[in-house]
């Protein structure tokens, strides 16, 4: 009989190991993708709510200072784990579903290694602090690269018979593939970049940054909203419940979208 590994005796880990044994690692990863997706939705809501405080710069800075005391810096780093994992794994799913990649195992390993490297890089940047960077150049680079990714997926999707709404979820995901990890990176290049209300407001004066942020808000909310509806549709079989849910989630995401857009054009 095989020797039981020590790790396998820890309840949570043994459950995951059993699941992988019975249904394969990609199944476990699909659950992680789902859980991180839902975590990101909550994170985005919270993010929009705190930023909406920018209309009162003094109050905003006080709130940020309070956050800083309450939540240690390492928690910020911790939040990057679901972000980078979901982004890279989303990229993997798009390669599998739309670009016919069947060498999925090496790509999955790449997702894990890539996530680790990103987190390491982020940690180094956070420890170093004080990195000055031109927001314009930074975002020109990532914005153009993201538009290109989105365009390639749009071209690819021409053959698919799926609905436009589904295609838009894939395109928005691809657009976010670089934008979201870049956004996190940018915020930690210099600790004041995301906490100094005046700095944020000045940055938002630029029409280009406005456009970047507008597309970011719209695509995150569309992608996340469609994702949440999709998860619920797996479980809700009653037409009435499905419809109620559709109305509820659309209203919720639309509401947050309005807050986000209002914020961008406030300044």
């Amino acid at each position: 009989m095989k020797q039981q590994s020590r790790l396998g005796t820890i309840p949570g880990i043994s459950y995951v190991q059993k699941t992988a044994r019975n249904r394969g690692w990609p199944y476990v990863v699909a659950w992680l993708h789902r859980i991180t997706g839902l975590m990101l939705v909550l994170y985005v809501f919270l993010h929009i709510l705190t930023l909406s405080g920018l209309s009162d710069p003094v109050g905003f800075e006080q709130k940020m200072q309070w956050f800083q005391k309450l939540i240690p810096l390492f928690f910020d780093w911790f939040l990057a784990i679901p972000v980078i994992f979901h982004s890279l794994n989303g990229g993997r799913l798009i390669l599998y579903e739309l670009f016919g990649n069947r060498l999925d195992q090496p790509v999955l390993r790449g997702v894990m290694v890539g996530s680790g490297l990103y987190l390491l890089m982020l940690a180094v940047i956070m420890i170093m602090g004080d990195q000055s960077v031109s927001p314009f150049l930074f975002w020109v680079y990532f914005f153009l690269a993201s538009i290109l990714c989105g365009y390639l997926v749009t071209l690819r999707l021409k053959r698919s018979g799926a609905t436009l709404l589904w295609k838009m979820q894939r395109v928005s995901g691809t657009f976010l593939f670089l934008m979201v990890p870049a956004h996190m990176l940018f915020m930690h290049l210099d600790p004041v970049i995301g906490r100094d209300a005046q700095l944020i407001l000045t940055r938002l004066q630029s029409p280009f940054i406005k456009l970047v942020d507008l597309l970011l808000v719209v695509s995150v909310l569309y992608h996340g909203g469609y994702g949440v509806i999709g998860v619920c549709r797996d479980y809700l079989s009653f037409r009435g419940a499905q419809l109620a849910l559709l109305v509820l989630i659309t209203t919720l995401f639309f509401g947050f979208g309005l807050i986000g857009v209002k914020l961008l054009f406030l300044v």
Binding site: M1, H33, T163, R233, D234, S237
Partner: protein, 236 residues
């Protein structure tokens, strides 16, 4: 070499007359190359004739004896005791029916209900193309065409893939139903493609698949089910 194992089966039972669910334990002395269907039959013969389970061909060709053993959906006619001990690293096995349809008794589920989902995709040629040569009666498929989907034709509708799928069984028609639809879109003998596409791109169709690939992982016929569903998303 070990020739017999003392194994424990914990079988999930259900009596519809009493509406009673319980787990019953059986100790069995099982030969190393006995299959789980043989073990269940041994229980019927020697310990408990009331235990209900189903099988038909017992050669991995009909899909009747599928069940979950220690959480893994599989064909019990294909699992040898020694392989099970090795794979699960235990001599205790929890046995449950697949959860893809309502239970009738013990390990038997209402397969008619399970099949309703497959029937929705009409798993047959609806509108056959006429023969392409005068001297033959049937339409011939070129080896190149067949090569693209021949694997998928091995499906025996055992529903193991459906049981393992990350999407619940509430709305999704299931990986095997998707496979049946994809095969007929790829089949050159079939002229009616639109009906199939309508089912594939339905709310209960491919959108319910999240490429978790559990279907491919558990399929006893080693069909890469997720590959075919991904083809449908990409465009057939």
């Amino acid at each position: 070499m070990i020739t017999t194992y003392q194994i424990t089966l914990k079988i999930h039972r259900y009596d519809p007359a009493l509406q009673k669910h319980w787990t019953q334990e059986y100790q069995v002395e099982a030969g190393r190359i006995m299959r789980f269907v043989d073990v269940l039959r041994k229980i019927n013969d020697e310990q408990d004739p009331t235990l209900a389970w189903g099988s038909s061909c017992e050669h991995g060709q009909c899909g009747t004896c599928s069940m979950k053993i220690n959480g893994k959906p599989l064909l019990s006619c294909e699992l040898l005791v020694e392989n099970a001990v090795d794979f699960f690293n235990t001599t205790t096995f929890e046995i449950e029916p697949l959860e893809v349809a309502p239970r009738i008794r013990d390990l038997i589920i209402d397969t008619e209900k399970a099949y309703e989902r497959v029937d929705r995709v009409k798993p047959y040629v609806i509108d056959p193309a006429p023969a392409d040569h005068d001297d033959v009666e049937e339409n011939q498929i070129s080896p190149e065409d067949l090569e693209r989907y021949v694997d998928a034709t091995r499906c025996i509708n055992c529903f193991c893939c459906s049981s393992a799928c990350i999407s619940s069984h509430r709305t999704f028609l299931g990986p095997n139903a998707m496979l049946a639809a994809v095969v007929r879109v790829m089949d050159p003998r079939e002229r009616e493609k639109q009906q199939r596409l309508d089912v594939l791109y339905n709310e209960n169709g491919v959108y319910r698949c999240h490429s978790s690939k559990a279907c491919s992982f558990v399929c006893p016929k080693e069909i890469d089910v997720a590959h075919f569903i991904a083809l449908a998303k990409e465009g057939l």
